[in-house]
Symmetry: D2
Subunit: 124 residues, 4 copies
Amino acid sequence: MFAQQRLMTLMGAQLTRVALGEVDVSLPYRHDLGQQTGALHAGTVAAIADTAAGLAALSMMPEGSGVASVEFKINFLAPAIGAHFVAKGRVVRAGKTITVSTADVIADGERVVATMLATMIRRA
Amino acid sequence: MFAQQRLMTLMGAQLTRVALGEVDVSLPYRHDLGQQTGALHAGTVAAIADTAAGLAALSMMPEGSGVASVEFKINFLAPAIGAHFVAKGRVVRAGKTITVSTADVIADGERVVATMLATMIRRA
Amino acid sequence: MFAQQRLMTLMGAQLTRVALGEVDVSLPYRHDLGQQTGALHAGTVAAIADTAAGLAALSMMPEGSGVASVEFKINFLAPAIGAHFVAKGRVVRAGKTITVSTADVIADGERVVATMLATMIRRA
Amino acid sequence: MFAQQRLMTLMGAQLTRVALGEVDVSLPYRHDLGQQTGALHAGTVAAIADTAAGLAALSMMPEGSGVASVEFKINFLAPAIGAHFVAKGRVVRAGKTITVSTADVIADGERVVATMLATMIRRA
């Protein structure tokens, strides 16, 4: 599913961990993903968090399922400044139709710069 | 401010309307912003909506202000399929520190594919 | 369905309008629903908004359906001070399973004190 | 501050734990807080979660501060059925003006029935 998300390719993001209900998406800093201030754009941060939250949800769905974002909410906790970012998606509750996930975006392995709470839906 | 958002350049988005409390960001469909399904990635949709909501907020702040996203929530109402997308940012309530905006993302001038409710903060 | 929501009875809220995709819930100010400041508690405001958003969604579902809140997000725009409040629920997009609604909470017929964006699910 | 929240008194909620950045609000089930189904109303669940998230934020602010909810988002993970509920508010990031908190609502000490992500603002 990750390979099908061309935006991730455009951004240079990679899938670096897939476990049951847990997915990490990694993103090296790149000048063109950000703003004049040197921080990543909120949209970049949201994109990797949404991907991680969605794939974490997908990891707990039956084989052959697809996943779509119903909605998400994301708080930006600190400027997304760093050399390397990881969005860590985790399932909070897996349901038959609806799965709720979170994703934290962590800069340089230590600072949480954003946190997402997302609702995902299974597509048969 | 739009020119400083390099992610918008990367995506090929353009600022097509700026009025007091109202900003439009336009985005032609591009293969690399989407998914295998032909729809834009949720992150792409969120990025243009956040930019429109943030710049709408900025348009009502005192000269020389900056703006940052405190948080946003976005519902995806339909697959983001189309040739052309516009994110229409509108201020709901402008405060001294906090401004609340919405942004609807419209495909091909007629279908609302996503709606955002966002909290923006003024940076002096 | 409104009659089944005992919290609405406890709060003294009433269903004052039901149309296709549009529901109003009215609430007279009462001392015990608020805070020392004289404003309604955020929880009171959220409760009537959620009820209005949910019943608006239900009004567009097939006869015999039930409705449950998947999630909602609410921004508090101004202190909820007034003698009378109306939560105006409106459907943004009705789907087979998932319906997205908004609700604005209006004080004394003129000031929007809160705005909600909610995801509702049909229960067969 | 809890004593000033009359809605908590009306609902029969109690403040059962206050530590730095961590506050618990407890609520015994009561027939009039719920719905025909026996579950608490989403508004009841949101009210105790908002109170716990807000007081957790307040616990990290300077003496003499007040706190107000800018916005919150809450996901309902399971029907709020049980004899006793605890909303556990926790600070995610404390800032000078804006503090981000979460609150989980737990039924009978074991089931998470809702999770909130909230933005609080300091009132001097």
